[in-house]
Symmetry: C2
Subunit: 272 residues, 2 copies
């Protein structure tokens, strides 16, 4: 059915990641016959829009040390504007300018990403445990594979924003790394590349000379301990993707020219 292996690329939304280079590189690979799905973040744009609208972003740190964006109804709408409206639309526009027939969607569209809303989130604030109940974030449970396969079959490049839909139909902010992992697993992708503003997983963060070129799957729990900040979710995503049948995950530098090609050539941290 699918002769060419599928590549899922996640373009991080943090400052420094070079979206133009990612689009150009993806366009060249698509022209050469690569099958691909792109997932993007949008944290820097969501932060900037929040600041401009006097609703600065707030973050939640879970008792186990994971950081996520606090998303009440007001910030959810800001997130939708920045991530669905700006990042997704401008990525699709860049691809269209490059002659790639991109197709932007969020998980709301056709329920492509179905998630469970986290009804009560534990947060540590100034050392105290707090329960947050008005948060619209979720954990993806199901990917509408048929819909994505239809788009791929029709030769569109699916470009997905990190927004999911709950069973009740609510829009939810989801972590883009883990969304990309779930999508890669659901589509049985061969490779998942997580492009970020770092050269890979560093043994001693932030010393970029300590990037691990390879990380055997067995060492993932250890890497989870070692990882700092948002890198933790990438490790978690890598684990979910591998558990779901993806052959390898590459955490690579999204600031470089030809970042996808460079990752495929072995630059970054290969987890398999």
């Amino acid at each position: 059915m699918n002769p060419t292996p599928l590549l899922v690329v996640k373009a991080g939304g943090t400052e420094g990641v070079n979206f133009s280079a990612i689009c150009e590189d993806a366009a060249a690979l698509l022209r050469a016959g690569q099958r691909m799905v792109l997932v993007h973040g949008g944290s820097a744009e969501a932060n900037a829009l929040g600041e401009a609208l006097d609703v600065p972003p707030r973050f939640i740190t879970s008792p186990s040390g994971y950081t996520s964006r606090y998303t009440n109804r007001e910030t959810l709408e800001i997130f939708l504007m920045a991530v669905n409206g700006k990042v997704n639309s401008l990525l699709v526009e860049q691809f269209q300018k490059l002659g790639v027939n991109a197709f932007g969607l969020s998980g709301l569209d056709g329920r492509v990403l179905l998630a469970t809303r986290k009804e009560a989130i534990q947060s540590i604030e100034h050392g105290k445990r707090k329960i947050i109940r008005d948060d619209y974030t979720g954990k993806i449970e199901k990917v509408n594979v048929a819909l994505l396969q239809t788009l791929l079959h029709l030769d569109y490049l699916p470009v997905l924003a990190p927004v999911a839909v709950s069973e009740k139909g609510e829009a939810l902010n989801v972590d883009a790394d883990r969304a990309a992992a779930m999508i890669a697993a659901a589509l049985q992708a061969e490779t998942l590349i997580l492009l970020t503003a770092a050269p890979g997983l560093m043994e001693r963060f932030p010393d970029e000379s300590t990037v691990l070129p390879r990380l055997p799957r067995a060492r993932l729990p250890e890497a989870l301990e070692m990882a700092q900040g948002r890198m933790k979710k990438k490790i978690l995503g890598a684990e979910e993707a591998l558990n779901g049948g993806v052959r390898r995950v590459i955490i690579a530098d999204g600031r470089l020219p030809q970042p996808i090609t460079q990752a495929l050539a072995g630059r970054g941290t290969i987890i398999a």
Copy 2:
């Protein structure tokens, strides 16, 4: 092939139009077997976001009296955030909450709406003629019918934002009434309903008691003269839809409960 006639509904983006009522009514009609495509505007949201970001909207009046939004690169991004990011996403979310599997897209996605960019626009400012060259607005030339038919066939409700793509791949702001007309014609819809914050076409604007219940197609040129402001584009859209093979166009009140059902029952101005 398509046993049930298709209905295209355009939900106006001006203040007063009741999106919740439109979604609920559409959901009930879809449950009853109606085939439908929804097109929406977003002018009020785009204005509000522009004001909040200190980029208040500007409008252009053409020598023939048509008003359109001035859209340079900065306001295009604001438009994308408000219209693709907020209005489209929240409409899709409302439908998902109502159990309708909506699918939001803009004309960029899969090049569903291909438009010609207006390279030079004549504008009348304080009585003087000016040429504007940095405007990103367009006129739709082609609708990707196959893509919309695929979505309908898969039982999704297509929800379209008034954004198109140029031949060069640029995002363009397009008039939502005329976009809806082009889509209705391309899909050979039976009926196009333009829901707005007015009860229909008024013989003596703004006297709402002078709504014309029927307007024969032959009287469209006369109506174009009579219409004020944004109503002009609705008349133009009605003409384009009818010329394209749509059987009837209804300009109806989007502020009422069950606005689509009421329009189908004859409330508003029926043009045929």
